[in-house]
C-alpha cells in the first residue's frame, strides 16, 4: 500500500458538482471539463485530498470492482487530471481525509473514469503579453 502522494484539486480550479456531473473550469489553461459517472464520484475525495489507494478503495465501495483492479484506470485518470493542471500532488496529508465508507448497496458496474475536455474557450483567451514599454512615461507603445 502506498500512502503518498496525496492528490488534491489545484487551488486555481473552480468546479461545481451537480447530481450526475461535475463541471470544472481552468482559466489558466483556458479549458473546461465535464466529469460523469466514476470520474464525478472521484472529484469529491480529490477536493479533500487523497492517495491513489484511498481513491481506488473509494471506487470499490461504489462500483462492482476490486480496489486493486480499479487502480490502473485510476492512475490513467489521475495522469490526465494532472496533465490538465486540475490536480496537484503533495506529500503533506490534508487536514481531513475523505471517508471511504462501507460498500454501498446496489453498487454499479465499474466504467473507467473519463475526463471530457472542452477547448473552445481557449480561443477567447489568446495571450497578448505587454511589451515595448515607453521609457518616457512607462506605458506600452502601440505595436
Amino acid at each position: 500500500m502506498t500512502t503518498i502522494p496525496y492528490y488534491l484539486v489545484a487551488p486555481s480550479v473552480v468546479s461545481e458538482r451537480f447530481d450526475d456531473e461535475v463541471i470544472i473550469v481552468n482559466m489558466a489553461r483556458g479549458h473546461y471539463y465535464s466529469l460523469r459517472g466514476s470520474a464525478a464520484v472521484l472529484w469529491q475525495p480529490l477536493e479533500q485530498g487523497a492517495t491513489a489507494d484511498t481513491l481506488s478503495q473509494y471506487l470499490a465501495t461504489r462500483y462492482t470492482v476490486e480496489a486493486a483492479d480499479a487502480l490502473s484506470a485510476l492512475m490513467t485518470f489521475l495522469t490526465q487530471l494532472s496533465g490538465e493542471q486540475l490536480i496537484i500532488s503533495s506529500e503533506t496529508a490534508p487536514a481531513t481525509l475523505p471517508n471511504v465508507g462501507e460498500p454501498v448497496a446496489g453498487r454499479l458496474p465499474f466504467v473507467a473514469p473519463v475526463l471530457e475536455v472542452y477547448t473552445d474557450m481557449a480561443d477567447l483567451l489568446a495571450l497578448d503579453p505587454i511589451h515595448d514599454v515607453s521609457s518616457v512615461d512607462g506605458w506600452p507603445t502601440k505595436k
Binding site: 474557450m121 503579453p129 505587454i130 514599454v133
Partner: protein, 353 residues
C-alpha cells in the same frame, strides 16, 4: 496639455492623479447617467467629437440627472491630450491577458494592447477610467459592449449581480436567457423574436440579478455575421457599420430602429440553450443545470477574464432556473412561438433566499 510630473506611489495616488487630470480637462463633456438595475453610472466623456461610439449601445439605459454610485471617465487621448499618470506597477505584474496586479484591494487594472485601451476601476474612490489612445482606431466590436469590464469589476464582489454572455427575450411578466457557445444560434434565436410579442434585452451580454431572478438589458446592439444577415435581410439597411472589415460583425442599434422592442429587463423563467438542427421546425426539451452552466460559464469567464466569484454566481443562477435545449429550425417564426409556448408552460421561478 502640460501636466505636473507626478509619479504616483500606489493605487490611491494613481487614481487621485488620474482624476485630477480628468477634472481639469477643458474638453470635458456633460455627464450622462446610465442605469443598469440598481447600478447607476455617471459617464463623463473627455475629448472632442461624437460620443456615439460609446453611447449608441447603451442609449436605451440613459436616465435623468441624479446621484450615481460610480463615475466613469472615458478619455480619448487623441483629442484631449490626456494620458494616464506614470504607472506605479511594472508591466511584469501584468499577466498574459493584460490584467494588472495592482497590489491593492479594491483596485483593478487592464491594458488591452491590441486596441491601446486602458481600464482602471478604483472602488474606494467610486471612480473608473476608460482611456483610449485613439477612439477613431477602435475596432467596431469595442463599441458594441462599452464599459463591460468596468461594470463587471464594479459588480464582481457583489453576490447579487453578474454579467453573463447571453441573450435575453421576454415579456414584462417573464422571459428567457439564451446562451451557448459561438455559432449555437443565440443571435439568430434572439433576432427571430423581433417581430413577435417578445421584447429584446440583449443578444450578447446582459446583467442578471441572481436574487430576484431578473435580467437587465445592457446593450441594444444586435451583432450579425453575414449568415445571420442573410436570414434577416430587413436588418441590412439598418447596419451601422456597413463598411466594416470582413472579420467584424455588422451592428444594428435596435433602440434606434425598434425602440418599442428593446426593454430594460424582465423576470427570468428559464435558460434556453439553442442548437441548430438543420431541420425546419423548432422544439424544446429539458436540459440539466450542468448543461446550462457548461453553456454559460466558459465564454462569460473568458470574455470578462473573470474568476471563481463570477463562476459561483452563475452556478447559483443555473440552479434556480429550469434549462431547456432549444432545437431551432429554418422556419424562423417558430422560434418565438416555441419560446412563448415554453413560457406559458413554465412556472414562475422562486428566487433562493
Amino acid at each position: 496639455m502640460t501636466d505636473t510630473v507626478t509619479v504616483p506611489v500606489d493605487a490611491p495616488a494613481f487614481t487621485q492623479e488620474f482624476s485630477r487630470r480628468c477634472q481639469v480637462a477643458d474638453c470635458r463633456q456633460p455627464a450622462q447617467r446610465v442605469q443598469f438595475g440598481d447600478t447607476c453610472l455617471s459617464v463623463v466623456f473627455i475629448g472632442r467629437g461624437n460620443t456615439g461610439f460609446l453611447t449608441d449601445a447603451i442609449a436605451h439605459r440613459f436616465v435623468g440627472p441624479g446621484p450615481a454610485e460610480l463615475t466613469v471617465y472615458v478619455v480619448d487621448a487623441q483629442t484631449s491630450g490626456i494620458r494616464p499618470p506614470v504607472p506605479y506597477w511594472t508591466w511584469q505584474q501584468a499577466d498574459g491577458h493584460g490584467m494588472i496586479d495592482t497590489h491593492a484591494t479594491g483596485y483593478s487594472g487592464h491594458f488591452q494592447q491590441d486596441t491601446d485601451v486602458f481600464t482602471w476601476v478604483a472602488r474606494p474612490e467610486r471612480t473608473a477610467f476608460l482611456w483610449l489612445a485613439d477612439r477613431t482606431q477602435l475596432p467596431d466590436w469595442e463599441r458594441s459592449f462599452p464599459l463591460r469590464y468596468i461594470l463587471h469589476k464594479w459588480l464582481e464582489d457583489n453576490d447579487r449581480y453578474v454579467l453573463v454572455h447571453a441573450g435575453a427575450v421576454g415579456t414584462p411578466v417573464g422571459g428567457v436567457l439564451l446562451t451557448g457557445r459561438g455559432g449555437s444560434g443565440k443571435s439568430t434565436s434572439t433576432l427571430a423574436c423581433l417581430h413577435s410579442s417578445l421584447h429584446y434585452a440583449g443578444d450578447d451580454f446582459v446583467l442578471i440579478d441572481t436574487e430576484q431572478l431578473v435580467v437587465h438589458s445592457l446593450y441594444n446592439v444586435a451583432k450579425l455575421t453575414p449568415d445571420t444577415i442573410g436570414r434577416f435581410p430587413q436588418l441590412e439597411p439598418l447596419v451601422a457599420n456597413p463598411g466594416a472589415d470582413p472579420d467584424q460583425k455588422a451592428q444594428v442599434f435596435l433602440h434606434q430602429h425598434y425602440p418599442d422592442v428593446v426593454t430594460a429587463g424582465f423576470p427570468l423563467r428559464a435558460i434556453l440553450l439553442p442548437r441548430f438542427t438543420g431541420g425546419t421546425d423548432t422544439t424544446y426539451q429539458s436540459a440539466t443545470a450542468a448543461d446550462a452552466l457548461r453553456a454559460l460559464a466558459p465564454s462569460t469567464l473568458a470574455l470578462l477574464k473573470a474568476d471563481g466569484r463570477t463562476f459561483q454566481k452563475m452556478t447559483r443562477l443555473v440552479r434556480q432556473l429550469p434549462a431547456f435545449w432549444l432545437d431551432t429550425g429554418t422556419d424562423l417564426p417558430q422560434i418565438p412561438a416555441t419560446i412563448l409556448a415554453l413560457l406559458s408552460a413554465c412556472p414562475v421561478a422562486t428566487p433562493c433566499p
